[in-house]
Point group: C2
Chain length 600, copies 2
């Protein structure tokens, strides 16, 4: 009973053994993550084209939703850069930034994404996420990072610019660069430099001054908050908002509102593909960081429960004025390093952000958008992993081509198109390989009942029986090609009267391959050659038996390859059994050579 | 030199050995195909939403284009039902039927389709067509046949109805059925009954009266022409056009015009996906009929040259006032049966249709559209193959689900969506299988150096070395799953110190699998277990060597599984070599049993 409850609500598991020591660890982590999350949640809402408070709302109740259902102890959920970019791209197609429709569409997107994640979890379809190969996801994140950085330049320069692709952004930036606002540029530029300096230099510096590793780390994570405070003060005292520095402005004070996503069937239908892609990308991102961090403590996460946890977070987000959320990479690492031990750390972070929304929002009125842009800029550039691109290039040109297709499509067509291009190309490249499977002509190893590749072993091949082994399941992508190959090999030598197909490596024969086999049998029959199968696996045999037309025309099914040969060419087999080589006729030799070329 | 020319222009091959006897055969076939093609080309243009003469134009020069570059001796190219339906669906999104834009878009579609077919042929990408599995293409054609039949009912009833899905068509028909025109219904109904009777009964009847088989066949193929003549006469003499029977009307007299497809980049971009689907469907259809017919005469066709041939036909069509064409199934069978011996039969058919366009078009003025609809109705119902649906259901539920998804999507969403749904589902189902590959724990066969599955053979497994064999390439879809499975098995038994992965069946390790292997090595290392690989194939080893981080962390690469075991657990190996079973410790046994469950 208790394990049943634990299965659906994993939180009961850790709540039962909760104690004061765990609370101290979790609370400490929550404070550090809250400090990190405040500027991030405002900034990512800006990136998603949403009002800043939406970022705060998405960082409160969704964290509680995840804590109830998720399986990771340290995953820090909330708004993240890539999902914010994808939200902007998806919602931007159907509504203009700043309108109530835009906000409503973001809620619908979170709800759909939540429902999909939960369905995938309950149906155990987490497998679908594995179609997103490492090179594609890594290329996608690198490309998105650069695209996001480019999209933030307008805030740093204080100009109006727009565009969803790198090209559009560049054109728009160049067109408006003359309108740059100097105070904004100073604030944005200095904030960016400061944040890069904090990231690269502050921690070693503090340690040199005798700070402990952990304390130095916490200070370094506070960089964005320091930039936020400093620039608010500068704007306030120099009245730079009057001088054209754009500020965040009025943020409503208070806890998240209850929001009901509107039900417009047409809008839902249109948002389904985007919600699916956001779900899959968010899940893959979350699960890989959660898995890496869990392994460091010898813990485990369950991918299907992660789906449910992230789904719950998104549904809660949809009903509490938020937008799509997922587990953040940097944030979870900080949570882990700061000592989070259970999902309660997430709940405490939610309390921290809740207090911020309740009490601190008036303080952000004079916060320059340029500061938030600088925060995003520095955060996303750490997502860019050029090393991964190089490693992939060195390791596999095929994987590299899928990665490159993803990157270029993200930059020059769109983020969703990028994912689709990468996944499609990697699937097609994989299918292309199994569509031209390795196959070998076999001969008998003298003195044994074994059959091996004639090209690699010193074996005896029957002149009248062509023995072939195919090292792949027979299915739609290779069916017709194999049909032609086998036919050509069989009719190339007029001495051949039988073909024996060794199916030891064939795990499946699908309906397309069955039709091709039937066609092959018919074509070979017309040429006076019979086709037999040997060493067919049990499940495959059972399936073949269901096809009447196959059973009516096929030759025999032999249990072993040796059985087939000893019946179809007893003379050669008898000679090979005692290790004797028959006098090879002239006709038999060229066939083998020719096949060596065919197979090359 | 001559073989070079033959390669690019296969027509030189057969022209060189052309003679009077071949000409007699080809001419006879051309006459019969022309008679069959006249009503079909008018009817399919109607189905595509185009003026009737466009059907004639698409049956003239495109046939010459194919004859120059194609490799089949009997394929009869021209407008076909399924491609006409797809053209209507594609072009209908961007222009209204009857407008010059509609006609212009059809030309662009033919041009794009031609360029794609030629590119696929030159790049030898015919493989892409094999992604269209037999069940998907067969389901697609059956579903399209029924959809086309439903779309023609409005002409038989003489009412206005529209819609691209079965549901829309049914609603529209029901809404307008009250406006049915009785004379039209009589003509359409009688023509349909007559054509069905001709198809089913005429040939046996004629043979009973002493006709030869071939003559009876030719008469039966003339059924549509007889219906056309009879209904033209009826409409003319009873002035039924005044009574509301819709007729084809004025068809411009003359040879095909020279048409230049307009270049509107936006329209081209929008039509690319449709052109791609039309190309692939048309190619698969053509190539399968061409292959079947070639095999009957022990001839061969080259799929990549077929792509070029069909591409040439479509480009010619775009520049001579036509629309997308491909090889027709019924038409090619007639061509074959009537004795066509070379592609010149197609050229002669083109001359026949050309003469029709030049001289006979005024005769079609009074041709009722209901007659053309009856021709289509009878022709497409022969495409419906319910037997294939049943056979697929019996043979494989997985193939059946892809087929059913195709059929339902064609009927209720759209033709293009149907193809995409079918292909996606069959690819995902295929990947799902290889994403959860079979793998086995191995033990040493006593007294030999062989290693076999512990579940199937009486073998000796080392208590400290876990031997695993994976029967699939390691790639993105199975990488993470295998990583978890192997980790769980290795840490389940505290006695295990080494894992040896037998890679004899691994043809590839892609970048995702490499990262998973690296992660696995790290996780196992943390648990005090080392990972080694055995029997890795040459090309795979070469690739692994390119990854520095893999080489730095992995255990050893052993040539044979026996080498690995004799080094890692010499005691058990020595005992097994002489057929001795070691005293199994209690800890070793439960692991094997547990694995039996894990693997079940």
């Amino acid at each position: 009973m208790s394990s049943q409850v634990d299965h659906f609500l994993p939180c009961f598991g850790w709540l039962r053994r909760y104690n004061g020591e765990l609370l101290r660890s979790d609370a400490m982590a929550a404070v550090i993550v809250t400090i990190m999350l405040i500027p991030q949640s405002l900034a990512y809402a800006l990136l998603a084209g949403l009002p800043p408070q939406v970022g705060l709302y998405a960082s409160i109740l969704p964290l509680v939703g995840y804590a109830l259902f998720g399986s990771s102890n340290v995953l820090a959920v909330g708004p993240v850069a890539v999902v914010s970019l994808m939200t902007a791209a998806a919602v931007g197609q159907f509504a203009a930034v700043g309108t109530p429709e835009y906000l409503g569409a973001a809620l619908v997107l979170a709800l759909l994404s939540g429902l999909m994640l939960i369905s995938l979890g309950l149906l155990r379809l987490g497998f679908l996420a594995s179609l997103l190969s490492h090179p594609v996801i890594s290329g996608f994140i690198t490309a998105s990072g650069i695209l996001i950085a480019a999209s933030q330049l307008k805030h740093i320069f204080g100009i109006e610019a727009s565009g969803h692709t790198l090209l559009e952004l560049a054109q728009s930036l160049v067109a408006h660069i003359g309108e740059a606002n100097l105070p904004t540029l100073l604030i944005g530029g200095l904030a960016t430099l400061f944040l890069f300096w904090v990231r690269a230099q502050l921690k070693p510096l503090l340690k040199r001054f005798g700070c402990s590793d952990r304390l130095a780390d916490s200070f370094a994570k506070g960089g964005p908050v320091a930039a936020v405070i400093a620039t608010i003060l500068v704007v306030e005292f120099l009245s730079l908002d009057v001088a054209g520095v754009r500020v965040v402005g009025e943020i409503p004070k208070g806890l998240p509102p209850i929001s009901i996503p509107g039900f417009d069937p047409e809008l839902w239908r249109l948002l389904v593909p985007s919600a699916f892609l956001i779900s899959i990308v968010g899940f893959v991102e979350s699960v890989s960081v959660a898995q890496t961090l869990a392994a460091k403590r010898r813990e485990r996460i369950q991918p299907n429960r992660e789906l449910v946890g992230l789904g719950a977070a998104n549904i809660v987000s949809a009903f509490s004025g938020g937008y799509p959320v997922t587990g953040g990479f940097a944030r979870s690492v900080v949570n882990f390093d700061a000592g989070a031990r259970t999902p309660l750390a997430g709940v405490l972070t939610a309390v921290g952000i809740g207090l911020t929304a309740l009490l601190l929002t008036p303080l952000f009125h004079q916060l320059p958008k340029a500061t938030l842009a600088a925060t995003i800029l520095v955060a996303v550039l750490s997502l860019v992993d050029l090393g991964a691109i190089k490693r992939t290039w060195v390791y596999s040109k095929k994987d590299f081509s899928a990665m490159l297709a993803t990157i270029l499509t993200v930059w020059f067509v769109g983020v969703e198109a990028g994912i689709i291009a990468g996944v499609s190309l990697s699937v097609v490249l994989f299918l292309a390989r199994s569509a031209r499977p390795h196959f070998a002509r076999l001969g008998q190893v003298p003195g044994t009942h074994h059959f091996r590749n004639v090209k690699r072993h010193d074996v005896i091949a029957s002149p009248s029986v062509l023995s072939l082994r195919i090292d792949e399941s027979l299915y739609f992508a290779n069916a017709r090609w194999l049909e032609d190959k086998i036919y050509d090999m069989a009719v190339a030598d007029p001495q051949v009267r039988h073909v024996v197909l060794n199916c030891a490596a064939v795990n499946e024969i699908d309906a397309s391959a069955l039709e091709s086999l039937e066609a092959l049998i018919e074509r070979l029959e017309a040429a006076g050659v019979a086709l037999h199968l040997a060493e067919v696996k049990g499940p495959v045999t059972d399936k073949l038996r269901r096809s009447e037309s196959f059973c009516a025309h096929a030759g025999r099914l032999y249990l072993s390859h040796y059985d087939a040969l000893s019946e179809l060419d007893p003379a050669t087999t008898r000679a090979a059994d005692i290790g004797q080589r028959p006098n090879r006729s002239k006709a038999a030799m060229p066939l083998t050579l020719e096949q060596a070329q065919t197979l090359a």
